[in-house]
Symmetry: C2
Subunit: 440 residues, 2 copies
């Protein structure tokens, strides 16, 4: 099917030139999607780019990886969200470069002029220069990565059945998670529940007491961005679920199936999950001195690039210092969502000739769930734990999901899992092994 590819190269954008100012948004994550939904397209033409045709609800990716939810539960098609809006154009492609002199973006399907540019491309994995990790560990920042991780774990249990070598079997069953932030902690808890309750029923041939889950963290506590109290609770919950937590431990290398650290401990595992660091991700077109720690683009309190006020950066790709956050706003979904809503509002105000206000992030609290009835939540006045935090976590995440259908499906799944201890379907939906050519 060579033709399709050739053809594709000749494509043009096919977006009309109108009198309306054109706002080009790169990325349909929390920030970009919020902006696209709330901007008034009677006053602006909006063009949204994303490399996927769906929005991913990243906070629940770990449940897809641990086979508790299916991809369709946490993904929502961009076109469906934007259906009823006029002057709104979605284009499925990756934006490689922006040229701020020419005011143009360059994509795989051609280039496009902008009046306002909004970069909301989020974050990607940061391996801090550890090559072995970049090559051999599994990241979990996208839906396809989460599915790959799930398939790999499930295939490894199938393989573990056949080996007579105990070390090999343990290597295939073990899981090492690097990084005890929310992703690492939530994933460790979910995999521990799988191991404790579910996998032994699926694989009667295996002894799951042989399987260890190691959570490795360079800092002296888990969930370092949360309160001390919540850290302690989370650690207690993780131990309750029999996760081996290694604090003050930095990963050094991973070869021959062994993870080495700056401590004496080594870890045997075929599945090593990278949840230790993220860095801002953005198209080419920014100078080094415009970037801050973690490859994020510095913005002023209006979310603008200081010398280039027609360019806005939102969410994880932005670096915004405030009085309350002298090291920059945290890279959280809630910051991205609020920034998207903020910018839509400002565009709508500007169209009506009203003055523009600076962005103010309101911390509504942070949460992490470790397992059944085990979660922690930090609010300004209260630090919650246990079943109450868990129910709060579930309620908040259900409400944040895009699409009523997704909410219903996730709710049914969670209720089901709660009463049946029977967490999802554990399908390996990829060719397990290519068919022998000789058979054709």
């Amino acid at each position: 099917m060579e033709e399709s590819v050739t053809l594709y190269k000749n494509f043009q954008m096919n977006i009309p030139e109108t009198d309306l100012p054109r706002v080009v948004v790169i990325g349909a994550g929390f920030a970009g999607l919020k902006l696209a939904r709330q901007i008034n397209t009677h006053h602006y033409q909006l063009v949204l780019f994303d490399k996927n045709n769906y929005h991913t609800f990243q906070p629940l990716l770990y449940q897809v990886a641990s086979a508790g939810l299916e991809p369709d539960s946490i993904a929502y098609p961009v076109r469906k969200t934007l259906r009823r809006k006029k002057n709104m154009y979605f284009r499925l492609t990756e934006v490689n470069k922006v040229d701020r002199e020419q005011k143009k973006v360059f994509t795989e399907i051609g280039d496009l002029r902008y009046d306002y540019l909004v970069i909301a491309t989020g974050a990607t994995n940061n391996f801090f220069g550890i090559d072995a990790m970049e090559k051999n560990s599994m990241p979990m920042k996208s839906l396809t990565e989460a599915l790959d991780l799930r398939s790999k774990m499930l295939e490894n249990y199938e393989r573990a059945i056949y080996t007579q070598d105990l070390n090999e079997r343990i290597r295939l069953m073990n899981v090492v998670i690097v990084g005890a932030g929310p992703t690492g902690v939530e994933l460790a808890g979910a995999i521990a529940e799988l191991r404790n309750k579910i996998l032994p029923k699926d694989f009667p041939d295996l002894d799951f007491r042989q399987m260890s889950i190691h959570l490795i963290e360079a800092a002296p506590r888990v969930l370092v961005a949360m309160s001390e109290k919540s850290s302690k609770r989370a650690l207690k919950y993780l131990k309750k679920l029999n996760v081996n937590v290694h604090l003050d431990t930095a990963v050094k290398d991973y070869k021959n199936g062994v993870v080495t650290t700056n401590q004496e401990r080594e870890f045997l595992a075929d599945t090593v999950i990278w949840a230790a660091g993220v860095a801002g991700d953005h198209p080419e077109g920014f100078h080094t001195d415009e970037l801050a720690k973690g490859n994020r683009i510095k913005v002023n309190s209006y979310c603008q690039v200081p010398d280039d006020e027609q360019v806005y950066i939102l969410g994880d790709s932005a670096y915004l210092e405030t009085e309350e956050y002298p090291k920059g706003l945290p890279m959280l979904g809630s910051v991205a969502m609020q920034a998207g809503a903020y910018l839509a509002k400002q565009f709508n105000r500007k169209a009506k000739g009203k003055e523009i206000k600076p962005f103010q992030y309101v911390d509504k609290g942070t949460m992490a769930t470790i397992g059944r009835n085990l979660a922690v939540a930090d609010f300004k006045r209260y630090k919650l734990g246990g079943a109450f935090a868990w129910i709060t976590w579930m309620f908040v995440h259900l409400m944040l999901l895009v699409g009523f259908r997704n909410r219903v499906i996730v709710f049914i799944n969670w209720t089901w899992n709660y009463f049946r201890y029977n967490n999802g379907l554990r399908l390996i939906v990829r060719p397990f092994r290519k068919k022998n050519k000789s058979k054709e």
Copy 2:
């Protein structure tokens, strides 16, 4: 991760030798799964092989391809089905060869002795020697193929937006389906409903009146295995949904995006779906004279290979002539299910010293659904059409689905779609384009 592969080669089966006779079943389709669930494993050791870790409900594959259902709705993990059975071993691998002298099967993870062998490997696509079709058309016999087909169609609409060349746009939007059996007819109907009601809302940039759906059939009528009355009805329904049906038309070639036939008509389409023929699929180890039309293995009325009574063939891979079916039982899910249940019963009878009875297929009717309120059903005495047949079809398929969870999810989806005309999520869950290496 070379090691995993090397390791994998050294694996052994890890199935204990016991006093119980060992029944080896290849394939967890309708026949194999039914047998595995109903055989009494107090009297037999059962080993089940499949190349996927899930059972696929093939009659609804077309709804996955047309984005009405997600894969998890019609797939069910084999291990979950067999959880509570003892002396039952599932192994995820492909069986390449059987050696009936040695009474052994050869798989990618080693070989295994059998006392009884049951081949229930189903069918694969038969391209009747048309190379261009084998290379460039999309088949739809497995979950991954159905997902590929969906992704291709959705990506083509995204691409169609960019081209200024009308012919190219039409080529990207058009769909040609070869073969008007149940799969072809159901898929044509589902894609037509997508085009008529749903895609125009998703893609306001495209004019879906430019998109044609061509259903090409060599026989003089659609659904040739059903009654004349149902054929006529189905044709009427297809026309109502604006599917272009071309009867008495045999496909000859497909190149440069054009399908040629034995008639003058040619068809421009990037998406060509092969639903014209299937052939039995089985491991190596059978002589040509043991095979019948369509690569199926001939069996006697006990579903045994005539000269080798410890080998049974069930479902689509079997060829069984009866008085009522002098050309062999049809390749249908219902035949496979009944054969699986039959064989389990005979094994259970044999264990208790009871006599064995021959297999008798009971035709409970055949059905096909073309669209909303449009279905046909052939029963012995009645030929149904329209909304009543459609409701019957839905009820029967819901009941046949494995797993209560799947039934609930499919039921919710169908109800939703009925009232909202908003058919599923249309996710393209595969990397749309690999990331530029230069960016790393």
